[in-house]
Symmetry: C2
Subunit: 130 residues, 2 copies
Amino acid sequence: MKLGHMSVPGDCNRISPILSHVGNKWAALTILVLSERPKRYNQLRREIETISQRMLTVTLRGLERDGLVAREVFAHKTPPQVEYSLTPLGETLVQPLFALCEWSALNCTEIERNQAAHDGEAGDPHASVA
Amino acid sequence: MKLGHMSVPGDCNRISPILSHVGNKWAALTILVLSERPKRYNQLRREIETISQRMLTVTLRGLERDGLVAREVFAHKTPPQVEYSLTPLGETLVQPLFALCEWSALNCTEIERNQAAHDGEAGDPHASVA
DNA sequence: CTGAATCCGCAGGGATACTG
DNA sequence: CAGTATCCCTGCGGATTCAG
């Protein structure tokens, strides 16, 4: 796959999984929350609030595996204290991710309107669609 | 959810679904491919190649619903010719999406190495991990 | 050519309970 | 506090078939 004038180095088949991985809901939120400063497990849980403990763990493991997030255990004993932080590589992801996040924030209202309008047309033939 | 100094207008709970939607593998690729120029159905199919016809249709419908992609039917008769193009709103998504795509392309090798290294440590205790 | 519809397997992801 | 393990359900997404 090629992108014409906007040449993307490498194969898009290699980047697409990565894209959908970091573009992932939980991963993206985690990166963004972590971009503020390193945080502990339950602190992340509280801040992302809608995340389940399972998905937080799974997401963190995945990001750790990618080398985007570092896990530091301060004491392997009472009470356990684990801190998660972005690696340098993870830091480089923040900006593009934030850009996309910003775009979403800026346009979510319009998108929601578009969706509602589109659904209205399709769902209700009696609507005043002319 | 707040992002501290990098204030994101609106609620992250509203943007996260959008983010995961446009960050979606097929949606992202479709937008990117369409950013080059408007294209027809089977042309998209060929260029994204790995996509199934079902997912292409589903993805296009979703993007259409969001108002990111426009669908234009040139003739509703023999042979049907349908062209898909980005809407102005869709155009605004190209840049941030491309930035993320670029990041993936730049770092996919390092990520793959990180993954391999991480898997090596965990998967094989006999590895020379010191 | 441009789809819609159906079947179906598999992974994502939530809830809950248990552990160190 | 910081996880792990299990259950289980939903939806993604591929393959195939039918239609205008």
